[in-house]
């Protein structure tokens, strides 16, 4: 690797220059230590800046496509608000809001092909939306009605992971399977800045690099792991870690949907063409609490929130659209109507969810009969039915 030849402003903090070209795309230059400035195509004031390296990757994104990205972000913000309201109304036990992370999730999520497979944490509801999830399925777990919301194979997305970082290994293993099968799909894994401290995430990078697995590591650095600031997990930009494992990485403005789309497309193209894994650090901000059970006022400076609100991912795209004459009332009305409809569908799906039956606790523990569990189920059913019988002496 050499220091020269780095593409100015490519945003890459490291990489392998013999990764080979992918589907006609220009792959990044070699390591450029210190290039920590995130890739940005739309700045916080809504101005679109040209970018020599990334513009070709989003050359197809015309005004209509930009409007579609905006609509996506409005809708998922609305889903998030509706779910938060449902939690406040006692309809959900808990909810992990993604407020502020819409661009990172929509930008990356809309880059994926339907045969790519996602392994996410619990906060990637906008990614699930991009995968075409049935809306109520998003809520099933948080309502306490099921252990998982959907069949992973129907939307090619694993059910959300609660154990921090575990999913990154699953994605890597899935990607190793893709290599064996000679396919050109990609495994994409989402995780937070906190997760990068876990052994699992670091081990996933070792495996991904060793096998040159077609996996994209998408880290949403939202600056907080519950109450812990990102500085506790990483002393230098997180994206700098991956090159040490032999994985090229890029920092991207996570509140810039277009930039997120561009860097994800590039990483996917590299993976599809045999170029191996890529690590993306989307620099964003969790504007809400960690979950509805969390109280960020105990640990977070309100000024910080204000700073980030000024970099809001939706506002900047709205400004850009406006400057292009693409934010007319008929369009915004249609977007609002769509968000309203989705929110209504979500609420209806939540409230009409059937209650689970007690015997459900015994289902799916094993794929084949298990004598001890059958015995426990039989005894428990006898116990429950004893309440239906007329009171016997000695039984309550």
């Amino acid at each position: 690797m050499t220091q020269d030849g780095a593409r100015p402003g490519s945003g890459f903090t490291g990489g392998d220059d013999d990764a080979g070209p992918a589907s006609g795309l220009v792959l990044p230059g070699p390591a450029r230590p210190g290039a920590d400035e995130p890739v940005q195509l739309i700045d916080p004031s809504g101005v679109r800046h040209p970018h020599g390296h990334y513009d070709p990757l989003v050359a197809d994104v015309d005004g209509a496509a930009l409007q579609k990205l905006y609509e996506d972000m409005v809708v998922v913000r609305r889903i998030d608000a509706e779910a938060t309201a449902l939690q406040r109304q006692g309809e959900l036990a808990l909810w992990p809001p993604l407020l502020g992370q819409e661009a990172a999730q929509i930008g990356s999520g809309r880059a994926l092909r339907s045969d790519d497979f996602v392994f996410s944490s619990y906060r990637e509801n906008a990614v699930a939306y991009c995968r075409g999830v049935d809306l109520a399925d998003i809520l099933r777990v948080w309502r306490g009605n099921a252990s998982s919301g959907w069949d992973p194979y129907t939307i090619n997305m694993a059910t959300p992971q609660v154990i921090i970082g575990a999913q990154t290994l699953h994605a890597t293993g899935y990607a190793m399977g893709i290599i064996n099968d000679g396919a050109d799909s990609v495994a994409v894994t989402y995780f937070g800045d906190g997760a990068t401290s876990q052994g699992d995430v670091n081990e996933a990078m070792v495996f991904a690099a060793s096998y040159q697995a077609p996996v994209v590591f998408f880290c949403q650095n939202n600056h907080w792991a519950i109450s812990e600031p990102v500085g506790l997990q990483a002393h230098v930009p997180i994206a700098r870690r991956a090159p040490g494992f032999g994985i090229p990485s890029v920092r991207v403005d996570g509140n810039d949907v277009l930039a997120c789309l561009a860097v994800t497309r590039e990483a996917l193209a590299r993976a599809r063409s045999g170029g191996g894994p890529t690590f993306i650090e989307a620099v964003t901000y969790r504007m809400g609490p960690h979950t509805t059970a969390d109280d960020p006022t105990r640990y977070r400076d309100p000024n910080e929130l204000e700073d980030w609100a000024a970099r809001d991912p939706l506002a900047r795209l709205a400004t850009l659209l406006d400057s292009l004459g693409l934010l007319e009332a008929d369009y915004t009305d249609a977007v609002k109507a769509r968000a309203d409809a989705v929110a209504a569908e979500l609420r209806e799906g939540c409230l009409s969810m059937p209650e689970p039956a007690p015997s459900d606790v015994f289902r799916h523990v094993y794929s084949a009969p298990h004598s001890e569990l059958e015995r426990q189920q039989d005894h428990y059913e006898r116990y429950l039915s004893s309440f239906d019988q007329p009171a016997q002496e000695g039984h309550r």
């Binding site: 619990y122 252990s147 154990i163 401290s197 519950i226 506790l232 015994f362 523990v365 001890e372 006898r382």
Partner: protein, 340 residues
């Protein structure tokens, strides 16, 4: 004497342990500024400093492994595992290192590490937040395992755990954090022992053994049974490794009947250990085979159904009826035969 919640009592106990010994340090995720997700360490970082109450990176193996290193260096780390289900990434460090170093070094190295684990269910949490992993640890030699059930014990036992030169897993029944009780902060700790069981209510017909979250439920069952003229002796084990068998034994010799109840799954659980050990020790005194009332052999279920999994007062009383050969849900079943 003062009245405080269970959670507050642990906080007060930790505070006292830290006051008494500058080598006591706390490590864990979110335990500093936030005071932990359950606020058990609330205010401790402010008062003792960030070098003694350390917010750690989000990595359980890292937390446990560095605690081992600190113990080598003469510290007494108190580790907080945020929720039961997150102890598994640290499992290797606990069972391969923490548990074995004293033995491996022929006593040269002490591992006075306390591992605090909020455990058990009943609070409507998502998966991995309601587990009862105690049997994994009671099965590992070299570890002491305890679980307090009331504010006084919480206060005393955390100090005893921290003072212990052996590693102690301190399982906190999270659904009881808000229960209030009297705490005698002047209690003479040398006079009590976290390893000894406590007779909660005396009785003559049935011995009901439990620990942690189910102690109040067992006590309620004893009260309900007394309406039917049944006298239950409830024993709160407090220590799960070692188990204070003499106390249980004395009770069973008196009652002739044993019911064990816990939230954890049945197979390979503590109930099995207690039933087998008591059968070995008290066979001639038993009027009925010991009965277990436990969680099922299933992954902890989602919250809408968790109360089917968790033993409650009625299920415990059904178990009591079984050892008394009173009409019960399994009446008429050949218990030795297969499920019908």
């Amino acid at each position: 004497m003062s009245t405080m919640t269970f959670g507050r009592a642990i906080n007060a106990g930790l505070r006292r342990a830290m006051d008494d010994d500058p080598k006591v340090v706390l490590l864990g995720e979110d335990i500093g500024r936030l005071g932990g997700v359950f606020r058990i360490t609330d205010g401790l970082q402010k008062d003792f400093g960030a070098h003694r109450v350390m917010d750690t990176p989000l990595a359980e193996a890292g937390i446990m492994g560095t605690a081992v290193g600190m113990a080598y260096r003469g510290y007494r780390p108190v580790v907080e595992i945020q929720f039961d289900g997150f102890i598994y990434p640290a499992f290797d460090q606990i069972v391969s290192q923490v548990a074995k170093l004293h033995y491996r070094t022929r006593g040269a190295v002490r591992m006075p590490i306390t591992i605090r684990v909020p455990f058990g269910g009943g609070i409507g949490s998502p998966e991995h937040h309601s587990e009862s992993p105690e049997a994994y640890f009671t099965h590992t030699s070299g570890l002491r395992v305890v679980s307090p059930s009331n504010p006084q014990d919480a206060y005393s036992m955390i100090q005893q755990a921290v003072a212990s030169d052996d590693p102690v897993l301190y399982f906190e029944p999270k659904r009881r954090y808000h229960v209030k009780g009297e705490v005698d902060e002047a209690e003479d700790l040398s006079a009590s022992d976290m390893g000894s069981a406590r007779v909660v209510t005396e009785g003559r017909d049935v011995t009901l053994v439990t620990y942690g979250p189910l102690v109040p439920t067992a006590r309620d069952a004893a009260i309900a049974a007394s309406d039917d003229g049944i006298s239950i002796e409830v024993i709160d084990l407090r220590s799960l490794a070692p188990i204070d068998f003499p106390t249980v034994e004395a009770s069973v010799r008196k009652t002739g009947r044993l019911v064990v109840t816990h939230e954890a799954a049945r197979s390979g659980g503590l109930g099995a250990e207690i039933a087998a050990s008591i059968t070995e020790r008290c066979f001639d005194y038993l009027e009925h085979a010991p009965v277990r009332v436990t969680g099922f052999d299933i992954p902890y279920p989602y919250s809408k159904l968790e109360f089917h999994h968790l033993p409650d007062l009625d299920r415990i009383l059904d178990g009591v009826d079984r050892v008394l050969r009173r009409p019960n849900s399994l009446s008429g079943l050949d218990m030795e035969g297969p499920a019908q």
